[in-house]
């Protein structure tokens, strides 16, 4: 149960952080006219193709006591990053980055450019246009970004194992816990956890897709 609670906490934190930093990145990807934009797009998509162990490995190296991030963290807070919950959040944010940024970018790009022009000639600057026009019209994309990063983080294994290790109550998430149970031939316990994760994932997705449909219909269906 502790593992499940930890997983949910991790997924929620990661989804929140990803929305916050995913939006400016997605905005830039959607509207920048810079020709080298494809480079950033590739970087954003990297976690989709890299094995989690590769990502986890580099994250671990960076967070380790000799890595740049680890050193900085020790200087600031007096303790390391690797094998901590914070370190886990950082690595998961990296790992789920495309799951937040890509739906956001797609939905920002889907907003009719003439609506942005209309907002501009009515006196709104870029920030107001974002809050009043782009964001409300991209709500389905925002919901999907949040759900995907939450669900993706909930189910991750490789990165957690590399960066977090397996410390009960700190970094032992559900997927690790299930793996542990299987390793020690406790199939009953593994099954209970696996089933719980399955049900929770399904419930979260259904709720969100249901909400998503209602949010969408008033103007998009016409």
């Amino acid at each position: 149960m502790e593992a499940l609670w930890l997983s949910l906490k991790l997924a929620a934190c990661v989804a929140a952080i990803l929305l916050a930093i995913g939006m400016p990145v997605a905005y830039w990807l959607a509207y920048s006219t810079w020709r080298g934009k494809f480079l950033l797009e590739s970087v954003v998509a990297l976690p989709l193709v890299l094995p989690p162990t590769v990502l986890g490995f580099y994250a671990l190296v960076a967070m380790g006591p000799r890595g740049p991030l680890g050193k900085l963290w020790i200087a600031l807070f007096g303790h390391g990053l690797a094998f901590t919950f914070t370190g886990l959040i950082l690595a998961s944010v990296l790992y789920s980055f495309p799951f937040a940024v890509q739906p956001l970018t797609a939905s920002f790009e889907g907003v009719d450019p003439r609506l942005l022009d209309a907002s501009a000639v009515l006196g709104a600057g870029a920030l107001r246009t974002f809050w009043r026009v782009i964001l409300p019209l991209s709500l389905p994309g925002v919901v999907i970004a949040a759900v995907l990063s939450f669900a993706h983080t909930l189910g991750e294994f490789g990165v957690v194992l590399m960066v977090g290790g397996n410390l009960a109550g700190v970094t032992r998430t559900v997927s690790i816990d299930i793996y542990d149970h299987v390793q020690s031939l406790e199939y009953g316990a593994a099954n209970r956890m696996a089933l719980l994760l399955l049900v929770i994932s399904f419930a979260v997705l259904s709720v969100v897709y249901a909400v998503n449909r209602r949010v969408w219909t008033p103007w998009a269906a016409k």
């Binding site: 009719d112 003439r114 022009d117 209309a118 501009a120 006196g123």
Partner: protein, 371 residues
């Protein structure tokens, strides 16, 4: 004059090239003056009308030139001045209207008034909705509103901000003449007290006649003529003008006979055996005239049409079909070559191909006499 901006003139000299490498000539190269009142910007699609409006509104940046509104410099390439769109106070009603789909009519109209206190804002919104007679729609979203009412709300949203200039990009397309006239009356009434320059884009002759105080004809990114509608558009007297007003067909003809009673005369086109009826003009039998016909006024049929009021039906053969944007340019040989504009859908539905036998249908009043 006092501090008020009423009665000011908009003046723009704009040169803008095609984007990307290899663009040598300017796509848009115009110098226009728009006094208070309605000025029509007339021209075929692709003539550069929307680009011109975008430059004036500040949504696009000219490569060279100056845009002045009264004493204010909105753009000056030499002095590197480019006032961004939100600060220009130029209202712009787009062809697509661009109403915010997630906001109610009322919220759409209030969008440009965020600097006003709540009470004043509500008052202004109420007033303008009343002027355009759409008060009952305040709580509706654009998706639930009919075309003509959407157009009224888009106008209201732009005008409620008390703009210094109003740009209208074919805002009334698709409306029937009566509704159009009603909206135009409302617009005129609104502008009597304010007298701001209004630049109204259309390629519809009826709208020119209904609105026109002045017309600027644009072709291929150049101003080809400016003045009163009658001078610019009616009875095109010069080749250039005829082309400017989108008469793609300019044919030499010889007058055969006059039929005063029917209000028509018959002319023979070029050296061909092709004869058509055109409106009666000041010409004697045997004299040579030119006939101007818009490509968009020509109908194509794959069988000989019957039971039509149109008097001119000519048999011919398709020489070529060329797609340009959402339009197909068909060249048809009927002894003389006609250019007709049709939609890609029509090409598909009628299975038109080069070499195919077709009939061209022309209303007598689509044939304009030149000299």
């Amino acid at each position: 004059m006092g501090g008020e901006v009423n009665g000011t003139m908009l003046a723009a000299q704009i040169r803008k090239g095609r984007h990307g490498p290899g663009a040598s000539s300017f796509v848009l190269d115009v110098s226009i003056e728009v006094p208070p009142g309605i000025t029509i910007l007339f021209g075929a699609s692709g003539a550069g009308k929307s680009t011109l409006l975008d430059c004036i509104a500040g949504l696009a940046r000219p490569d060279e030139g100056r845009i002045l509104l009264g004493g204010d410099v909105l753009f000056d390439s030499v002095r590197a001045i480019h006032i961004p769109a939100p600060k220009r106070r130029i209202a712009y009603v787009f062809q697509t209207l661009a109403l915010f789909p997630h906001l109610s009519a009322e919220e759409n109209v209030a969008y440009g008034l965020r600097n006003l206190p709540e009470g004043q804002r509500r008052e202004r919104v109420g007033e303008i909705l009343a002027v355009f007679r759409v008060e009952k729609l305040r709580k509706q979203r654009p998706g639930e509103i009919s075309g003509g009412e959407k157009q009224r709300i888009a106008l209201a949203r732009s005008l409620v901000t008390e703009p210094r200039v109003l740009l209208l990009d074919e805002p009334l397309t698709g409306l029937d003449a009566e509704l159009k006239a009603a909206i135009v009356d409302d617009l005129r009434a609104w502008n009597t007290a304010r007298a701001i320059p209004i630049l109204y884009v259309t390629h519809n002759r009826d709208e020119v006649d209904a609105l026109g105080e002045r017309v600027i004809a644009l072709d291929n990114g150049r101003v080809v003529s400016a003045g009163e509608p009658i001078e610019v558009l009616d009875a095109p007297r010069r080749k250039k003008l005829a082309q400017a007003a989108c008469f793609e067909n300019l044919l030499n003809a010889t007058v055969l006979d006059l039929r005063e009673a029917d209000g028509v005369m018959r002319v023979k086109l070029g050296e061909s055996p092709c004869e058509i009826e055109v409106p009666l003009g000041y010409a004697a039998a045997g004299s040579r005239v030119q006939v101007a016909i818009r490509a968009g006024d020509i109908l194509l049929a794959t069988e000989r049409p019957r039971g039509l009021s149109a008097r001119n039906v000519m048999e011919g053969r398709i020489l070529s079909l060329e797609q340009r944007g959402t339009m197909v340019i068909a060249r048809v040989d009927c002894g003389v070559t006609f250019v007709a504009h049709i939609t890609p859908g029509a090409v598909r539905a009628l299975e038109l191909t080069a070499g195919r036998r077709v009939w061209l249908v022309l209303k007598t009043h689509s044939c304009h006499l030149v000299d």
